[in-house]
């Protein structure tokens, strides 16, 4: 089966769900996702009162209908079908639609990639050819535990037969010694907000100048490694958020190095669907078809949003407390398989099946490889795409 625990979408998972749950090859995060199908499931509720699912759908539709400024957020790990329904719903409700990619620069970088302004590659190409990988402001060992073992560092690839020991170098650049930094051959610790200086230092090395930042010898050494790379891949994450104010210079650096860019991101399916329709990957307001920073979930919450529909994303745990409180004040609808902080502060809770286990569909891996998700077990829960469709029909 395919694991939907993160956007690696590992396709080698062995899974037996009987009296006991047995899972082979999935990392702990993936195993827990499967193991949790009998735990902590969301109950259909309106204003904390248990209701049947039809009534929760009606309540959600009513809230969206009455809303002046609604927003739809998520999903993180779901199917393309669900993502399509989320967009349809945003159109019908005249809502903003956004997802995690607008926190930080991931969405921006993904848009550049979709526009073909920056090179990228697939994870399979990374496995077969990558000789130097850089992890800048990201910690895949924590967020995407099998990415380095399956693709970027440890496996033997078609043209990297000697694997990580001799054929590959891995460089971590981060504000702290992350788990990824722990296993990379090289680690550069950069104080918050100073990535730009390191970037300039690399540019200097690339153009044959002496870098003016940090320990010159080490920077030269890593700079030259980057320069000599035959097939370099640069992974980025949310860490770029608080440290690079010069994102376009960053893109220039990527171009200068000839590296391929791979933002580590969840929910890229929604980004792609939105891009194909509007030319942008997130922050779209379907009320007036506008695009802009004011449509970012956090900015919108600070503004005059009155209703939020959140799909399978515990966003309340990822935003400052003040904003989470604001989320509690407005009309919030949570659609997802499990209860969490976001469902807890929502006025309407609509439970769904766990996709890829209790419901089928298609999904994109972070590099846009399409995978078919199977349904492994029967359950009484409706797939999230169906819930969204029914809310839309009731509008």
């Amino acid at each position: 089966m395919i694991c939907l625990g993160c956007s690696c979408l590992c396709d080698d998972i062995e899974c037996e769900i009987g009296e006991e749950i047995k899972v082979g090859n999935a990392c702990l995060r993936g195993f827990r996702r499967i193991d949790s199908i009998n735990e902590n499931r969301l109950t259909p509720r309106v204003e904390r009162k248990e209701e049947n699912i039809d009534d929760t759908i009606k309540s959600a539709a009513k809230l969206l209908e009455e809303a002046k400024n609604p927003i739809i957020f998520g999903p993180e790990n779901s199917t393309l079908e669900t993502e399509k329904e989320a967009i349809e719903l945003a159109k019908k409700a005249g809502a903003i639609i956004d997802n995690m990619s607008s926190f930080g620069y991931s969405g921006y970088l993904v848009e550049k990639i979709f526009r073909k302004e920056v090179n990228t590659c697939t994870l399979d190409e990374t496995r077969d050819d990558c000789d130097v990988s850089i992890y800048w402001g990201c910690d895949p060992m924590s967020s995407h535990p099998r990415m380095m073992s399956r693709y970027s560092y440890y496996p033997r690839g078609k043209n990297r037969q000697r694997g990580w020991e001799q054929d590959r170098d891995a460089i971590s650049i981060d504000v702290r010694r992350s788990l990824t930094a722990e296993i990379c051959d090289k680690f550069i610790k950069v104080p918050p907000g100073r990535d730009f200086e390191l970037m300039k230092a690399f540019k200097d090395v690339l153009s044959g100048k002496i870098p003016k930042f940090g320990d010159k010898k080490s920077i030269m050494k890593i700079g030259n490694l980057i320069k000599k790379a035959e097939f370099g891949v640069l992974f980025t994450g949310l860490g770029l958020n608080y440290s690079i104010n010069h994102i376009d210079d960053f893109i220039d650096l990527v171009k200068d190095t000839g590296f391929r860019l791979q933002p580590i991101i969840e929910g890229i399916g929604l980004n792609k669907l939105l891009f194909d329709e509007t030319g942008h990957v997130n922050k779209i307001n379907y009320k007036d078809k506008s695009y802009g920073i004011e449509n970012n979930f956090v900015e919108a919450l600070k503004g005059d949003i009155d209703t939020a529909l959140i799909i399978g994303s515990d966003v309340a745990s990822n935003i400052p407390l003040k904003l989470a409180k604001r989320l509690r004040e407005i009309n919030c609808i949570y659609v997802g398989p499990h209860s969490n902080l976001t469902s807890h502060i929502s006025k309407v809770n609509i439970p769904t099946a766990v996709c890829g286990i209790e419901s089928a569909g298609k999904a994109y891996r972070m590099d846009l490889k399409e995978e078919d998700l199977e349904k492994i077990v029967d359950s009484n829960f409706l797939p999230d795409q169906e819930i969204l469709k029914r809310i839309g029909d009731a509008l």
């Binding site: 990392c27 073992s149 496996p155 033997r156 930094a181 090289k186």
Partner: protein, 170 residues
């Protein structure tokens, strides 16, 4: 300039014969039944003897601090599962990333279409495999650290970000 550049090297764990020996009384009094403190340390690591056999550690006040440090140091060993060849997996630390599975040279040699290219094992002959999110060991007799032509293989230790694999016997 506060830029810190580190080249990572595998770190020796304190949970080694020498690490233990340093905290023992080092008097070679033989009360434990061993010929020396060093051989006591070796047996401790192999779980063939328990710390309480060194009674001086418990009786003399001077050793109290060392004893506590030893107890702390040995705790994971007592809790961990040790295979008959000395490979220790700390299941509480492992999060199933599979780095060791893909890096182990025996896994690679036995399973060119699975582990070698980053996938889960497709052969029964591999040593390391992830089950229910934690790595499990099998076929330990084929581990490169054992047998006649043993070598000091580190290929499963170095890539583990969680330091979940150890060979405390050295």
């Amino acid at each position: 300039m506060p830029v810190d550049l580190c080249t990572n090297v595998a770190k020796d764990s304190d949970l080694s014969p020498m690490g233990i020996y340093r905290l023992l009384p080092q008097t070679n009094c033989k009360i434990c039944g061993e010929t020396s403190c060093m051989s006591f340390a070796f047996k401790l690591l192999k779980k063939e003897i328990t710390l309480d056999k060194c009674t001086p550690l418990y009786e003399e006040e001077d050793y109290e601090e060392d004893r506590r440090a030893l107890e702390e140091m040995l705790r994971p060993l007592m809790e961990a599962e040790m295979t008959e060849t000395g490979l220790v997996i700390h299941e509480d630390l492992c999060f199933g990333c599979g780095n060791c599975v893909v890096a182990c040279p025996v896994n690679v040699a036995e399973d060119p279409k699975g582990c070698a290219i980053g996938n889960g094992p497709t052969s029964d002959k591999v040593i390391l495999k992830v089950e229910n999110g934690k790595v499990k060991a099998a076929n330990v007799e084929s581990c490169r650290r054992f047998g006649e032509h043993r070598i000091l293989c580190n290929a499963c230790i170095t890539p583990c970000p969680a330091k979940a694999i150890e060979f405390p016997g050295g």
